[in-house]
Every structure is written in structure tokens, then in C-alpha cells.
Amino acid sequence: MASSETQVSCRDVWKVFGPNAAKVIESGDVDLPRAELMAKTGCTVAARDISFDVRRGEVFVVMGLSGSGKSTLVRCVTRLIEPTSGAIELCGRDVLGAQPKELRELRRTKVAMVFQHFGLFPHRRVIDNVAYGLEVQGIDRDTRYRRARELLGVVGLAPVEASYPDQLSGGMQQRVGLARALAVDPEVLIFDEAFSALDPLIRREMQDEVLRLQERLQKTVIFVTHDLDEALKLGDRIAIMKDGRFVQVGTPAEIVGAPADDYVREFVRDVPRGKVLTAAFATQPHGGEMPDEVVRHDQRLGELLPVVFGAKGPIGVVDGSGELVGILDRRMVVHVLAGREEPSVPEELPA
């Protein structure tokens, strides 16, 4: 990917909570186990040497259990929490070096956040909540109300604009949170466990809403969650976080199909593999001629089962442009789906 496309870039970001945090990093004490570090220095590490890039229009999911440091990490991106060290670039601007005024400017126009417990202002009507970001920018009342109404229409809440947040259901409240974030037309959207507090059905609805909006708006999204299904459903790429460290970064298929270590493997064990893994995971290189039956490399194995067991002859696998890249190995399909053997992603194939 061209670097001009990079919207968010974090380099060697550390966040250590506690006294003399910067010294703790330099001294190397940070590598001590959690309890020992606490006893020795009074510090805890929330983010360890994190580097990642998010491209324009990409949905980058940070996923981990509670306490893994994911919420702290995304707060470092806009300095809601001050990182201890590292470099962060947001839309080409240096975040950590920014003066308070510059930082406010960034927060006002470039990036918006959706919060786990919604973070709605209970004393403001829905429309004033949605208009808040524009209000602090000093935009006049008519303009910001017009924009707020537009966004309320997008999330389907136009009829309740004059209500107060506590009169709405949880799902509706988070739609307000979403509309509020979109109202400032940010380039980057950050979702911090945005749907974790919602009921499963509502949660799925909200996820679909995000996918629908994303198709239209193509925002750059950083999405924090502890829910693997949510991560797999929404993420273009997923970073698995543990104890403040990224243990693996990759596409959903890579995470499920090629877990980097036992921790990730344990995580993805119960994922319905057929819904995530693609034909590429069961493809053997093949130089022969085009078989009668062909499938695309990025089709999910689950959907291909009727083809796999229905076809008489070999099944070819083609890439986006129709070139033959190999043939689908039936035995391998079974193994991959059962998760019994470590499948490897053929290098020449985009997964």
C-alpha cells in the first residue's frame, strides 16, 4: 500500500501507568511479569511497543480481553490518554508534538469517537448531542442543526430528535452516539467497545448498520472489541492484543487459519471456520490446464462444500482476474475446516 494512503500510524507506542513511567521503559524493567513490575516500580504497562498503520477506508479491529490495553491504546491515538513514548501520526499530522490548540483542532475535525457507555450528554436533547462537535467548533445553530438532522435521518432517529438520551433504548442511544461522531464528518472513526453494552440482537443490528454506512462513507475506522465474532465480521484487518502487546495482526482468514501462537489458537478454536477461511487455504499449486469446475480464491470454504463434494473432476482456483492459481485439494479442505492440520497460506496468493 502506498504510504500516502496511511491515515493513522503508530510507531513504538508505549503507555506505562505509574510513577517515573519513562524511566521504567528505559531501564528494561517493563519486561518483568506484571506483579513483579508493580512491586518493584509501582507501574503497570498498558501498551508495549505498539506499531501499526491503518489505511484510508480500512476497518482496523483491535481485539483483546478486558485489561489487555486496547481501550488505552486507542485513547493514545487522540491523546485522551497521554502515551508515555512513541510517535503517532493522524492524517499526516504529528499528534504527540501537537500543541493543545492544534490537538483540539485535530479532535474537532479529523477524528471522532463512539464510546462503550455511549458518553451521551444527559442534559442535552438528542439533536444537541449530535450537534455537539459542530457546536464546539463554533458553527452556527442553523447549520449544525441541519447537519444533525441529516445524520439523525441516516441512523433512523429523526423522530426522536427532541428527546433526552435517557428516554431512549440502549440501541437507540448508541445510534445517537454514532450520529454524533459522523456529524463532524471525521476522516477517522474510533469505536471503543461501542456495541459491547448492547443486547446480542441489537448488537448485530448495529454491526450491520456500520457495514452499511461503511460501504457508503468509506471512513477509516479503528474498532475496539472483545468479541471475536464482531472482529471477524467487521474487520479488514484484526490486531489481537494481549498484555499490552499485539500478538498477531492480519486478515480474519489469517487469524483463524494461521494463528500466530497458542493464545490466538485458543481464541479462534470455536470459530466456524468455513465462514471465515477462503479457498486459498486449501489450494495446491498446479500448473496444468484449466479444469471444468473453477472457484474464486476468496470464496469461503463453507459456501464451496457443495461444489467440493459435488464435482467429479479437479476444481480449479482462480484469482480476481481469472488466472488459474492452483487446484482445490479436497483432503486439505476437510483438514482446514476441521482445524486438524496447520494449513499454510500459499505465498503467491492473496488471502
Binding site: L103, R104, R107, F115, G119, F121, H123, Y132, G133, V136
Partner: protein, 677 residues
Amino acid sequence: MAAPTATTMRLPVAARIAGGRLGRWAPPLLLAIPLCVAAAAVEGIHAGFPAGWYLGVPRWFDGLNNWVTQNDSTNFFLHTIVSGFGNILNGATNDVVNLLHWMTWVGVLAAATVFAWIVGTWRTALFSALVICSFGVLQIPNGGPNGISQMWPSAMTTLALMTVAIVLSTIVGIPLGIASAIWPTVSRTLQPVLDLMQILPAFAYLVPIVVLFSIGNPAGIVATFIYAVPPLVRFTELGIRSVKKDVIEAAESFGSTRSQLLRNVQLPLAAQAIMLGLNQVIMMALSIVVIASLIGAGGLGDPVLNALQTQQIGEGAVAGLLIVLMAMWLDRSSAAFGQRAARDRAASGRTLTRRQLAGLCGAVLAVILVAHYGLALGDWPAGFGFSFVDQATTALNWVTNAFTGIAGPLSSFLTLHVLNPLQRWFGDVPWFIVAALVGTVGWARGGWRRGVLLAGCVVLLGLMQAPNGYTFQGTTSYNFVAWSDAMETLSLVVVALALDLVVGIPLGIAAYRWRAVDRVLRPILDFLQTLPAFVYLIPVVTLFGVGNVAGVSASLIYALPAAVRATTLGLRAVQHDVIEAGQAFGSTRWQLLFKVELPIARPYLMLAVNQTILLVMAEVVVAGLVGAGGLGLDVVTGFSRSEVGLGAAAGLAMVLMGIVLDRLSQSNPDRGRVATS
């Protein structure tokens, strides 16, 4: 309280003591006992505090007073700053009084009623109207105290004094609260000051204020301000701090500046808490009007004070009733104002548009203009009312007669067999035993620092006294033995406290246990809590005459609601699932109460004790007005005879005593006081 388990039984005794509850008592006792023995050996065992030990505090204050009197017009600080500030307060009070008179009685009535209707319901409005009318309707005959025949002007003066004191409290209190919420350093610095202000009985700082501002309205306003401002600062800080973190974070994430955050988010969300604080300010301000009258603030407090001092209870009762009505009126109106924000948000009930509001204000203004210029009205006309004193006197006499058979013997029993022996007994204890005791308990409950501090306070209290045969510049001479006066005050406090706990905690349990009891009790407690402290003095003086018994009974009633409330509150705070667990194991209702609910509510019960002690002490001191002895009487005497040193030293002794009693009854040094209001 759990039965010792097998393991603890087998431990050696010493280890058990060191590890258990007794362990906290061992170190202070090991220090205190030898110190006591040493003190007894050096000094011998005598009752009370040695007469030869004193700091000369009365002389300082007499000297200070003298200096202030002589330099009032020349010293920059006194002349420009203190007097200037006093003049501003006086001017503001006069302006408000004049405004209220200019508005005419019809205007005042209209404004109060319409305001109540806007913020509340028609019932609030009706109540306000009735209260305003009562200011005019209830009168006392010509030749009453200060020649007042109508209460209307006095009521307007009190209203003006309240307004200025409340505005002053708001101007100072809200910014201080905001500052403490934003900067932890400010909060840390203010906390102990506010603590002290809340522990202090108002009597303690009357004398220094008078020394600075001399007798008059400004002194009254400043005293009211000191008394009333702490809750406003606390509520403002609490309100801003309890705005949820995620809401703040959301506002920050959209790039709000700090002032935008404060204006758009924190202050609006804290508005209800701030209004609650303001409501408290109003109630506290009203509760001090009579005390403020002692230092020359006019208004309704004057006739009450006069009546208490001259035993003309009837007139005092009328003025007292008016103060109570004013308290209820202002309480309801300001509480309704506070709830308005919440009600608007819920979008239920009546909300007015800006135009409707403007219309109503215009209408009130029109009424005022017509009443003033068109009808040339003024204060409430004397003809629209009747003297209420005879009825009040008759009623009070009836009460006296009806209960005299009980009150007389009860009073003499309490005096002869409880108060006097207790006072004698307290007085007989050598000072070092008291200091050691206080120090030990303080240490055991709050660490050695607290123990040393409190023992120091005890010694300092003794040192407040004036030497035998004290005279100042040959003109002023008085006796002041701080120790024995403090012991007298203590005996009153102990009796009232004991009775309060014996009655209050069971009542609190009953209110928790049976809904019917709660339903009956709640309005009574509500009413009692809106009554200013001195109001209790009127009926008890009627019943028991002046003296200690009146003081004890007034304190008893004054503090009772707090004891009951804190108990009920504590029991209600016990989490439901814990109670369910208790029930699931088949506890009876009483087992549940004694094994689960009361033990869990223990911190609240401790709080009940703490609050009751402070309230009792405050009222016992105020009861000096009706001849209850001890430090309160010293302050009253100091005023009536212009013995500034006596009043001020007694005030300081009260401060020390208040600190000792408060800290002894607070078990956890780190925990701030829970707001029970």
C-alpha cells in the same frame, strides 16, 4: 463479632491481642498510663485544670478589641477593607429592603407567588401566597418589643438579610466549589477549612466578627455566610466531580476547550447538586437569623431573641412561627427550582416557553407599578390582620399548665439526679486523665497523630482560661474557667446524646422495618429538619423555664431527626442480594436485622453518632440563650456585658471541644463525611 475459630483459639494470647482489635489500644495505653502516673506524681491529684496555667487568651482579645476601637478610622486594613466591605453589605441590605418596600405588599405577594408557580406547582404557589400573607396578618400589639406592631417590616428585613447573605455565599461558594473540582490542591486546602467551619457552632466566631465589624447587619451577614457557605462549596464540587467520566471523555474527544467543557457539560450536569447546595444555604441562613440578631442584625430574629431573654414567650412564638413559615416557603420554592431542570428534561409536567415567561414577568412588573404608583400602596396595612400574641400566649400557657405536672418533677429529677452529678463527676476528674483518655481513644481509632492532636486540644482548652482575678485596663473584670465550663457543656452534650441514641436508633430501625412507621415519621422529621435551631428553645423554655434542662431537651429534639435518618439510611443501603442470601438460609426477621443488616449498616450508625454529637453540641451552645450553662452561656454573657475576651476565649474553647468530639466519633480518618441530607 464472629465466634473465634479453632485457629484463633490456639494462638498465644499476646499474638491475638497484637493482631486483633485490642492491638490498636495497646500502644497508646502503654504511653498514656506512664504519662498519667508521672503527671500525678509531679502535680498531685486535683480536680480539673490547674488554675495557674493559662495562655492569656482573654487578654489578647480584650487588647485586640481595644486596638480595633482605637484604630478603626486610621488603620488602612480596618478602615478601607473591613469597613468598606461592611458598608457594601450594609448598603446592599438597605437596597433590598427599600426595593421590597417599594414593591409594596401586593408586589411582593405577586412576585413570590408567580415565581413559585413557575418553578413548582399551583400548590407551591398557594403555599407561598399564604406565607407572604401571614407576614402581614400575624401581628403583635403596640408596645411589643422595639415598639413593633406589625411583623411585615421585620419579615422584609430578614428577607433582605437572607438575600444578601445568600448572594454573598453564592458569589464565593460556587467559584470555590468549581475551583476545588478542577484543582485537587485547592480541594485539599479547602477540605480542612470547610470541615472546621461545619464543626464550629456559630457561637464560636460571633465575637471575633463583632470585634472586626462591630454590632450590626454586616456582622450578622458575615456570620451567616461563614455558617452557610460550606455545603454550597461541597455540593458544587461533588456535583462537578460526579459527572460521569465517559461523558467528560466524549466532550474532550470532540475537542472541547476546558471552558467549553465546564460550561456545556460539567456545570449543567452539576446544576441540580448546586441547587441542592443553595437550598441548604438558605435553610442554614434562616437557622442563624436569631443568632445573628445577637450581634445586631435586625429582622424577625430580634423579637425572638427579646422574648427569649425577657421570657415574653408569646411574642417570640409569633416571630418564631413566621421564621418557620419563611423557612418552609424558601425551602419549597428553592427545592422546586432545583428539581425544575430534571423535570424539564423528562419532558413531563408543565414547561413554559420563553414568551410565556416574559409575559408572566411583565405581568408581575405591571402589578408592582400599578400598586406603587396607581394605588400608592406600601407595606401591609395594619388593618388586614390581628394580634396573634394573646392566642399564642394562651396556647403556650395551656401547654405549660397541662404538662407542668410532668415537666416540673422531670426537670428537677434531671437536674438533681442526672445533670448535676454528671457535671460534678466530670469536673472532679484531673485534667491529665481526660487528656490521656481522649488521646488513647483518638490514637486507637485514627492513628497516633490524631491521638496526640486531640490530647493537645484538651490541654489547650484548659489553657484558654482567664487567671484568677483577671482585669483589663481596670474596667473589665470577669472569671472564666474554661475547663469547668467545658465540663458543664460536656455533661449536657452527653445526656442529650445518650437520650438521642436510645430513642433515635430504635426509631430508625422501626422506620426501616415497618412502612407504616416510616410513613408517619417521614413528614414529622422533614418538618423538624426545616426548623431553625433556636425555634426549639421556645417550647422548651415554656415547659422547663430557663436553665440546663431546657438546653438538654432542645438539643435532644434538634438532633433526633439526624439520628433517626442516618440509621434508616444505613439500613436501606444494605444491598438487596445480601439480605436475600440471609433469607435463603432461613434467618428470622430479627436474626436478619441483628446478624446482617445492622452489622453492615455499622458505618452509618457511627455516622449517626457523629452527626448527632455535632448537632447536640451546636444546640447546647445556642441554648446559652436560655440559660443553659457552660461555654454557650459564656458567649452570651460576653455579649451582654461586652466582655469580648470572655466571649472569644469561650468561642475558641468550643472550637477545641468540637474538634475533639468530632474526631473521637469518626472512626475512619480517611473517610470524608457522607452527606445525609
